[in-house]
Amino acid sequence: VAVGDAVPRQVVDHYENPRNVGSLDRNAKNVGTGLVGAPACGDVMKLQVEVDENGRIVDARFKTFGCGSAIASSSLATEWVKGKTVDEALKIKNTDIAKELCLPPVKLHCSMLAEDAIKAALADYKLKQDPNKEESEKKA
């Protein structure tokens, strides 16, 4: 184990006390589900959001199988999206997550995975609201 491998306190916190672990009803119209994987390390991450009629995210859950940084990133992501509108949540960047968790360079891809999971969940939600918009949305 190399020097500098010390796990940041924030990561340990999210790992030992993960917030929002679980599932939402993926069949509900106002629930968006994002399922992403990181092929290099084999981590999988599922992130779900529940959106109210005003376009605000009222609940979020995650299930991640992977390293502590991946779990912490997705845990933090679910905390951050709650209370935000869909458009606000789309602005969450992996760099913000990485900074908050003090992720070392070798674990930056974990925060990227979390950002992708958020986007995938929101894209799924949007698709459910208006399937006909799929073609124009794909270009975004």
């Binding site: 994987g37 092929p39 981590d43 992708d116």
Partner: protein
């Protein structure tokens, strides 16, 4: 000095042997030799059915130890790994490196599951 030289080479040989013995690392090495980088970016448009399957197997493994489920899962993982190894071999034989790359990415997920299962079997 000669001893250090021998040690380094012996260590290299061990590493080479281990790399070539395991189908996943062997496949990734072959990709590297052909100038193809293994899959790096997040799989956003990766087969959702595949990722769902990986999630489900992970969830099964996370459940408190039930011997039968563990055995069933172990068999499932082995079968999948054998299938994938065959498909990777075919892809390489055809010279389809992009397909090999995709399949090796899938094998990585199963390699992780295999490790998790091994850890479950070790009494803590």
């Amino acid at each position: 000095r000669e001893q250090r030289y021998s040690e380094q080479h012996s260590s290299l040989i061990n590493k080479a042997y281990r790399t070539l013995l395991n189908p996943l690392s062997r496949g990734l090495y072959l990709l590297e030799l052909n100038g193809v980088e293994p899959a790096q970016e997040t799989d956003c448009d990766a087969d959702p059915v595949f990722l769902t399957e990986i999630m489900e197997i992970n969830e099964k493994l996370a459940e408190p130890g039930n011997e039968d489920i563990l055995e069933e899962t172990e068999t499932l993982i082995k079968v999948k790994q054998e299938e994938l190894t065959k498909e990777v071999t075919t892809a390489f034989e055809r010279g389809d490196l992009q397909e090999a790359k995709k399949l090796l990415a899938k094998m990585k997920y199963f390699a992780n599951l295999e490790d998790k299962l091994k850890n479950k079997k070790i009494p803590s």
